[in-house]
Symmetry: C2
Subunit: 300 residues, 2 copies
């Protein structure tokens, strides 16, 4: 089968053999924005040399601005309810293929705020499908999983279900502040400066709040405490530190899924809070989509 | 005399009579950015029909990117030390005039973060120069003053001195999120929706933190809880609410200085925290600069 994570700005496809092992993968700058609505022809073109009959997709492709809108499944959600929410798509431009889009998840958080995700749930399902790896770390069946990124997701999983989750707009805020604010104008190209990052994390736990702490990016630069190459790491530490301040779980162990450079920062920030963490690759999305296909009885 | 608040993006001039009363005022789109370094000729042009011999200025004109860099005066700072820090500028293009630039203030806050202001100190001095008005509200000599804006300032004044202050980048964050983020793309032109603003302030006091709460701008729109015309007011409530969460003072009374539309929002948010507030106009800057001129013995 072919598993696809199709988001707003990226397209990632994985080819899996009958045992569910990824044997090939590719990515393309063919996110939703780049497709201009021509999802069927883009998909046919991307997969012309992969002839597998089953395609299972997740991500913003199933959103209101995607190919077909697949309704959110409400938390707590297990593999069974998520698989039941998958929508089959008819595509005459891809003859001989069955194509499914997995639903995203919604949650009404404990604070009353609505939460949504599309795509990340497949990585969570992939992780929960690896019980040996997980059980080596915890024993009580409750796991905290963090997926850092533009919109970081913090999920609680219990007994194989995704119980609840929260979002933090950390990555997007970092990007808009770097590109469009007074603070970004003070910075040079980023180098990963661990000391400055740690200072940002430490500062985030002080009084004043994020809106006050952000101004210290300017003043620490003004008074020569940090250089223009150190300020990006400091800003990153402030923001990730505040993300943790707001969403740090009751558990002592966090599973991180994502790309290595960003995960390293989260690991350091978590360690400063006395938390343990383990890291997992984004390819878990393919395993999660494979689990959904098996649950829906699409594999034969 | 002529009092000038000369900032990065704006130029505001006031003409005062011998009694210190503002008899005329003007503003121009002649902020630092628009001057391209030609401060002397811009000033001569702006003041050609005002022949007063004394010009006292404050704001970013005294910064590193301004006309002359005037060193910051450290808090606690009274009228005497601020007046002593004023710098006289020589300008052959403005014959017969004496020109001074007031210093900004710096503070090493209780959390160890450096703080700076340039320009706002003149409004604070103007307010502190009106003892009748102030003493009607408090009696113990300690005042909390908030100047909302791109970079909001929260100052504590005691016994006529500016004791300490903090900054919150509330206005700048609002602007960059509206113009450059996913959240801004969901919004239409702002209308001041008091209910949505209040919902934002209430939400800001819940668990999760600002980075989490920002995502609710998206999800409350997605689920139809708020319309695209209500979302700007909700975002404003979230941000001002978090500013207050971080910097709310121990006093029960806040003096607000600024323009009326924004002050109304701060008054409502403060009332939701059980705080009283009174409002004062930005023209206090002229009164503060007049006090500095008198203290420096420049009026005759």
């Amino acid at each position: 089968m072919i598993a696809i994570d199709w988001g707003t700005s990226s397209f990632r496809a994985y080819r899996l053999n009958a045992a569910g092992v990824v044997v090939d993968q590719r990515s393309a700058a063919a996110g939703l924005i780049a497709c201009d609505g021509a999802f069927e022809s883009v998909l046919a073109q991307q997969l012309q040399d992969w002839d597998d009959g089953l395609i299972v997709m997740a991500g913003m492709i199933g959103s209101r601005s995607g190919w077909y809108e697949v309704p959110y499944v409400a938390c707590p959600a297990g593999i069974d309810t998520i698989a039941a929410g998958m929508l089959e798509v008819t595509a005459t431009g891809l003859p001989g293929r069955r194509i499914f889009i997995a639903p995203g998840l919604s949650d009404r958080s404990s604070t009353g705020l609505p939460e949504v995700m599309r795509g990340e749930e497949t990585q969570l399902l992939g992780l929960l499908g690896l019980p040996g790896q997980i059980n080596a770390l915890e024993g009580d069946g409750t796991y905290t999983v963090c997926l850092p990124g533009t919109h970081s997701k913090w999920a609680i999983a219990k007994d194989g279900c995704i119980s609840s989750f929260h979002t933090a707009m950390t990555g997007e805020l970092y990007a808009v502040l770097r590109q469009h604010s007074l603070l970004g104008a003070l910075m040079q190209e980023e180098v990963d400066d661990e000391t400055s990052f740690a200072l940002g994390v430490t500062t985030s736990s002080q009084a004043g709040g994020l809106l006050n702490h952000l101004f210290s990016v300017r003043t620490r630069g003004l008074f020569g405490e940090l250089s223009s190459t150190q300020l990006p790491s400091y800003l990153s530490g402030l923001l990730i530190g505040h993300e943790l301040q707001g969403l740090l779980p009751a558990t002592k162990q966090v599973h991180l899924i994502g790309s290595s450079a960003l995960l390293s920062r989260y690991q350091r920030a978590l360690a400063m809070h006395g938390m343990e963490s383990s890291v997992h690759p984004e390819v878990l999305a393919a395993q999660g989509l494979h689990r959904l296909a098996r649950e829906r009885d699409l594999l034969r």
